[in-house]
């Protein structure tokens, strides 16, 4: 296998987090773009759950105790062939007052209990990006 991927179970909620500094040109309208493929499913849907935790320099926030903002969930139909890539856009309505320069932790999980998550087997996440409008 020439690439790295994270496998998300169809039953148990599995998740991963990444952290970064929000670029200085961030203005608004964050949207998560999840690129994935399926291990075996060739029909039905998969739902992704993206959460953010954002802390601005100088905030009176204990980062160790902070929790994620509410979930942002969206689903889509999986590709008709296992191994083919699909991308799902998730509008980050609950963005935790995200601002340029913030310390950001992003959570990505598979929303296995969501009504849109009907596909069987692992979802194989290969990339996650956050797009936004710039200043």
């Amino acid at each position: 296998m020439y690439l790295l991927q994270l496998l998300y179970d169809a039953t148990n909620v599995e998740w991963a987090t990444w952290q970064f500094r929000m670029p200085a040109d961030y203005a608004s309208a964050p949207v998560a773009k999840v690129q994935y493929k399926m291990a075996s499913a060739t029909a039905n849907g998969v739902a992704w759950d993206v959460r953010l935790a954002a802390v601005t320099d100088g905030d009176a926030t204990d980062v160790d105790a902070k929790v994620f903002a509410a979930a942002n969930v969206a689903s889509g139909t999986v590709p008709g062939t296992a191994g083919f890539i699909d991308e799902i856009s998730i509008t980050l309505t609950n963005a935790d007052s995200l601002a340029a320069g913030d310390f950001v932790v992003v959570y990505l999980g598979r929303a296995t209990g969501d009504a849109g998550d009907t596909a069987t087997g692992d979802a194989e996440m290969v990339a996650l990006a956050i797009t936004y409008t710039t200043v």
Binding site: A41, T42, A43, A82, G121
Partner: protein, 86 residues
């Protein structure tokens, strides 16, 4: 005795993890199939027992009879490897 709902869910979950073939059925359809297979096993337990030759039927335990059926079905589906397979 039929599996409870928790164990039926666990069977479905593990099936999904081990399945490598293309799957067009949904999680709900798979769950219904697990329930149907379990119900079928329950409903046909007596017939299976009757089908066994008396020499084995009267001497084997319930667990041994269940294990035997599992071995036969697993071998038929290509999932049971034996020492002789190398």
């Amino acid at each position: 005795m039929a599996l409870d709902s928790t164990n039926r869910a666990l069977v479905g979950a593990q099936f999904m993890r081990e399945n490598a073939e293309a799957a067009t059925y949904s999680k709900a359809e798979l769950a219904a199939a697990v329930a149907a297979a379990d119900d079928w096993a329950d409903a046909n337990a007596a017939a299976y027992n009757t089908a066994l030759p008396a020499g084995f039927r009267t001497k084997a335990t319930t667990a041994q009879k269940a294990a035997l059926l599992c071995f036969v079905i697993q071998r038929r589906s290509g999932r049971l490897r034996v020492e002789e397979d190398g």
